[in-house]
Amino acid sequence: MSSDKTGAVMVVGAGIAGIQASLDLAESGYYVYLVERSSAIGGTMPMLDKTFPTNDCSMCILSPKLVDAGRHRNIKVVTLAEVREVAGEAGDFSVTLGVQPRYVDPDKCKSCGECADACPQDVPDAYNQGLSERKAVFKLYAQAFPNAYTVDKENCLDCGACVDACQADAIDHGMEGETLRVQVGSIIMAPGFTAFDPKALEYYGYGRLPNVVTSLEFERILSASGPYAGHLKRPSDGREPQKIAWIQCVGSRNRRIEHGYCSSVCCMYAVKEAVIAKEHSAAGLDTTIFFMDMRTYGKGFEKYYNRARDENGVRFVRSRIYEVRPGAEDAERLLIRYGDEQGVLRYEEFDMVVLSVGMEPAADAVTLARKMGLPLNQYNFLEPAPLSGVATAKPGIYVAGAFAGPRDIPETVTQASAAVGESGLLLAEARGTMVSEREFPPERDVAGEQARIGVFVCNCGINIGSVVNVPEVVEYARKLPNVVLAEGNLYSCSQDSLVAMGEAIAANKLNRVVVASCSPRTHRPLFQETLREANLNPELFEMTNIRDQCSWVHQAEKVKATAKARDLVRMAVAKAALREPVRRVSVPVTKAALVVGGGVAGLTSALTLAGQGYQVHLVEKENSLGGLAMRFSEGLRGEDTGSCLREMIAGVESHPLITVYTGREIAGVAGYVGNVVTTLTDGREIRHGVTVLATGGEAYSPTEYLYGRDGRILTNLELDEKLAELAGAKTFVFIQCVGSREPGRPYCSRVCCSNSVKTALKLKKEDPGRQVFILYRDVRTYGILEELYEEARRSGVIFVRYDVDDKPVVSLEDGRLKVTVTEPVLGDRLVIDADILSLAAAIKPAAANTRLSQLFKVPLNEDGFFLEAHLKLRPVDFASDGVFMAGVAHAPKNLEENIAQAKAAAGRACTILAKDRLESHGVVAVVDPAKCAACLTCVRLCPYNAPRIADYAATIEAVLCQGCGTCAGECPNKAITLQSYNDKTFVASVDGLFTEVS
């Protein structure tokens, strides 16, 4: 197929946005250049200790993605690189990259760290926020990819000690930088953010007072791999703090320093840090968060906040901070001078103060954007074009992540997938033109052969060899059962060793291979490739770790380390003998999508998928398309939503690949990813490979505040519709959180604050003489929307905070509509004679969700919204492959966010639709139907819906199985085994350990 477009994409920035975008692109058939300015991919996320709201370990959830992106055949990671020039246009850009020399050959580097041990030069470790030191030759962090060291030339003494120390000859101080030119069809800008430097705000004492730290520093302090190994200590004297304060909005919501936006993430991370810090402290840590508005607006956030306050005992103080200064008696302590909500001046001492610093665009990203001619907003964020989610002013260039405006990880990941969805619209015709797949020779059938095992023991330079007596281990391995060959290697992973290994396999007719070296996490795929090249199935391989888990951790106990290495090899050999070939199962993919829901999210997903050439079936239960957004007069920032929607509907209705089924619902679902047959209520059957659930939400009909009793009491949605008729009304009152953040509906509906503020502003603009009151609990105008709040206050909208225990009272007296509220600053009752009362009513999940969750076997959360596979890193996926969610079906969100998520769902769906066949994930669980009692244990246990009962026995869909083996562990008749990891192999391994060989 010829195309004028280039089937490659450049992703600028390798944080979580860049990594997610790259993986989605590569899986959708595009070649990716992932360009990163530092020496490793990962961005900010590896620095974080835990992530909210699940308290997941950040590194745990990220590292599999690091490995996937790092190893992906169709992702070229270019580190230490900057974009110098971009020429051309959408579909065909030429990009010039300047690449700094690493001075270490990443192919040769074994990441052993001998160079750093030899290096005499200490440098503050920026990864640990300067709280510890590293050497001038360093690796950014332990799990970094590329898994190689880098010379920091700026701090290098050029003494040559590292060169002498390196056994692998990987270091070359003569390396020179290079210029790369690449052709790409589109560009995704994901350069991330930098944390605000609070030195500029002197009154916080940062930089002067050592126990005032930033939140990012605090993340490193909490991290087990951080400067204090996870022990809670304060920097000045290493003592464990008893009392810590967090100060919110440092560098955010501050117009004086031109940071008039909310950084969106700080409330949640501060709550999380307080909760986690308490877990780290044996003595019962005292934690206080000083804040203006608690902005816990995301999915699951409000509950997290409530739990922190009510169960974990985190104290929240609504306040203004004036100053942090040394304690009155103990100068190591810190005195905070602040004004409380009533304006009363207060003082309180703490052992440590954490500044919740905001996000700002990175300087080099700003420079690059300017160079590329991309207009930035007043804070230098590259805000997406209105109602596009990801588009910039230039076609073919998209934005994702915090550079688009402050946002948390799930929104960043969502936007990354959305950029991929959008990019696909441009490049669909060039899909698959630049990617390649590696071809391997046919596999030799080893069935029925006696095991012939080859054992390769690595010295890893001196990393293993200087502790473990490798020759002794090799000699020992030769005596083990089934071993026909055992050899030592200087580096088993070096190119010559791999070639020799391949030759040895052929020459000795080896049918199993054991490598004793470093971690299978990093090196197993490499050795497995060698097996495949030597005509062996990759699962005939067994690896044992005698470096990271032996020589490195028993450096002073050489004899015992050698004994342990012998044991490990013996275990591996015993297990290897039982290894069997595993053939991946594949199924064909029906290249069509089912989209459930014809609102903004469903329409957007449908258009994004159809625009890439896939058949789309759009099902809407109402008789017309458009959903709830049809009732909006405009977007939060004045966007013309009406014409946008009309355009979308027209686009969907006229698209040759989209079939619309209105007035119908889903009646039945059969099949699984790649091949689903869905039946509609009219009996029609639809065949599709993927499903997007975009069921939207419903407006809550208030039971409070006399709603329904008087025509002047409206919901925000009704007010928006009636606005034109209300020209004469003078006094407007908005009440926030109606039906949200309540015991029965404990979540925040997210959009109501911005929505009320927007309408209030509009009312004021129409007639400045109007009185507009907003009665709120916390104003949650996050991100750039903070500007609306700022503007509303300036234009005279009156904000009155009310307490959840002292809600406003609405009464009708003699035809007058009265709203009474306690004004917290004065403590007085404020009585407002309102012409119009508008209730910011909650957004409810669609009633249809419950039934759909049963039909598609996907979970709902406690609130009735769909529950994603992972709150942080898989925000649009379900745990069961091939089903995605978009829009309010996932959680309340505004139109812009709906659109982004809908494009993301389409982007993710394309990773399946782009493939002709779907392959199983390597090792999977298999059922012996003869032994199966159809007891349902596996069916009930599996989170991925892989097992089902068919013909009176369980069967596991290989393409759905993720290979965890939980079913195998539980199966009461041992009818299920996990390939490569079954009980027999575990028992063999343990038996091997306790069977001495003389």
Partner: protein, 223 residues
């Protein structure tokens, strides 16, 4: 399914105290489904008891085998080889299994590993409830699909007793009153007339009261 519960390990150990070699026989039928006597449980029990005996200085040799079912002669016949040379067989089947083994292998010492509890089904994974009283004369069509014989604590056949309160049985507040359930269901089905019908006395001779029972089906018998 038949639901059975394993006897405590110590009790089983006591029953095989003087044996040197024991066969542990699982059953891939009901007891596998109620997670008490499939291959997994059989091997776990054999290993645990073997370890116990090792610790006591009185080693035990174990053999494990899981029959497709222990309630059909052919499957029990197939165990002829594995029972050879064992001093006893511990059957993890329901109460039927040990008896089939005993009948087929007259010289074999047979030990039950289970307390066979009831005929029932699973409520959720890991929880089973009793549903059928095996009375031999089913009345479910008259009682809205709810068995009074087994689900009423007193097996009353014609309406609730005075101990029914707020839908619960007097024996415990977690026990539903079967007759309350029957009433609600018949009401829902608009068949409360069934409650008013006079019933013939139940023929309890068809239940256990008539001695051991036997079911014969001429039409499927072979030869």
């Amino acid at each position: 399914m038949i639901v059975a519960e394993q006897k405590p390990l110590a009790e089983i150990a006591g029953m095989i105290g003087d044996c040197r070699k024991v066969l542990f026989a699982g059953c891939a039928g009901c007891v596998t489904v109620c997670l008490s006597g499939g291959e997994k449980e059989t091997e776990v029990m054999a290993t645990a008891l073997r370890m116990k005996r090792q610790l006591e200085g009185n080693p035990l040799e174990t053999v494990t085998y899981t029959a497709t079912r222990q309630c059909d002669p052919e499957y029990v016949d197939a165990m002829a080889d594995v029972v050879k040379g064992v001093d006893a067989v511990v059957s993890l089947a329901c109460g039927v299994g040990p008896q089939y083994l005993a009948a087929r292998y007259p010289d074999l010492w047979v030990i039950p590993a289970q307390n066979t509890t009831f005929a029932g089904g699973s409520k959720e994974h890991g929880v089973w409830e009793e549903f059928c009283g095996l009375c031999g004369q089913c009345v479910l069509h008259l009682t809205g699909g709810i068995c009074p014989v087994i689900r009423c604590s007193k097996s009353i056949l014609n309406g609730p007793c005075g101990g029914s309160q707020y839908g619960k049985c007097e024996i415990g507040k977690d026990v539903e009153c079967a007759w309350h359930l029957i009433y609600e269901r018949l009401k829902r089905l608009d068949r409360l007339d069934l409650m008013r019908q006079y019933r013939e006395p139940k023929d309890w001779s068809k239940a256990r009261d008539g001695g051991p029972r036997k079911v014969t089906r001429e039409d499927v018998m072979i030869g």
